[in-house]
């Protein structure tokens, strides 16, 4: 069985990414706990192997890094990096794209709901104060 995937960091120890890739030095197992739960949820054993979790973490860090760099490549043409740059990158992956747009709209809804809540609270407080003065 070929143990070398040929990928840049799938066999490297955590933290030893190529210097040209990123200067991100990270502690081992930053996402370990969450990843264990996630892997179980997606089909792994209730107790995934630690080496598997570590490998997936390495892969994910690289994934996010490359994703961000690619987004910056497209974003730099317009200036700042924005969410749209990420959505553009995953446009061909329909499930991911749908999920992200769904989350974004929920995020927006929640923001609005909180705004209304806060302004209601403020009104109530003012009514209170007016009452106390009278």
């Amino acid at each position: 069985m070929n143990a070398n995937s040929g990928g840049p960091s799938s066999k490297s120890k955590a933290g030893s990414l190529q210097p040209s890739e990123t200067s991100f030095k990270r502690k081992r197992g930053v996402f370990q706990k969450e990843l264990q739960h996630m892997m179980y949820g997606f089909g792994d054993d209730p107790n995934p192997l630690p080496e598997s979790v570590a490998l997936v973490e390495d892969i994910i860090v690289e994934y996010v890094t490359d994703l961000v760099h690619k987004a910056q490549d497209t974003g730099s043409k317009r200036g700042k990096l924005s969410v749209e740059d990420f959505l553009y990158l995953i446009r061909k992956d329909t499930p991911k794209l749908n999920r992200c747009t769904e989350l974004l709209s929920m995020n927006e809804e929640l923001k609005q709901a909180r705004k209304v809540f806060e302004s209601d609270e403020e009104k109530l407080r003012k009514v209170f104060e007016a009452d106390e003065e009278s």
Partner: protein, 192 residues
């Protein structure tokens, strides 16, 4: 805690009628309900409820300014799609205990927002990272984990292996995902 992907609170209310599959078998063939399908189903409506921390997520509470939101499984009114709601509830009602538990972890697990934000700040070099960006990157990364795990399981099935997923399966899964174009690669090719 991230309000969007909050787990179902009253899981106990949803006891399965009968186990449709043997223990330990996850029905990956079910077209309605592969994990990636379920993630893309229309959003359940949120009922803002009391502050109910779910056990293992408690350490996230301090970092979250938002109120904890209860998502009651009985209130799954998938937006504008009663048909899908009915299907989902029908499937969920037939889950075995193990399937339900796995499903719970599938829904509740997420990358810690603070850690993801830290990582994004380092990678981008920006001084702040917007909330939507953290949301999108976290969701995308989580689904990618799903891609890896599901593909790894497929590999194991082909090799007629069982048990926990091993790194060799993950490496093979990763290789296949690259071929599928699901792994972002910068256009500057490495020569060596």
């Amino acid at each position: 805690m991230d309000p969007f992907e909050v787990a179902f609170e009253d899981v106990e209310d949803f006891l399965p009628d009968s186990p449709t599959t043997g223990p330990g078998h996850i029905d990956n063939e079910n077209q309605f309900l592969t994990p990636s399908n379920l993630l893309t189903s229309p959003a359940p409506t949120i009922s803002i409820g009391t502050n109910a921390s779910i056990g293992y997520n408690e350490d996230e509470d301090e970092e979250e300014e938002e109120d904890n939101v209860d998502l009651n499984i009985r209130n799954i009114a998938l937006r504008d799609d009663p048909d899908k709601t009915a299907k989902t509830r029908a499937i969920l009602s037939q889950f075995t205990g193990e399937q339900m538990e796995r499903f719970e972890f599938f829904r509740r697990s997420r990358f810690k927002k603070s850690e993801m934000r830290k990582m994004l700040l380092t990678i981008t070099g920006m001084r702040t990272v917007s909330e939507p960006m953290v949301v999108v990157v976290s969701a995308t990364a989580k689904m990618f984990v799903g891609d890896i795990v599901e593909t790894a399981r497929t590999v194991m099935t082909e090799r007629k292996e069982s048990g926990p997923i091993r790194p060799c399966h993950i490496r093979e899964a990763y290789r296949r995902l690259k071929l599928e174009g699901k792994v972002p690669r910068r256009s500057v090719r490495k020569l060596f």
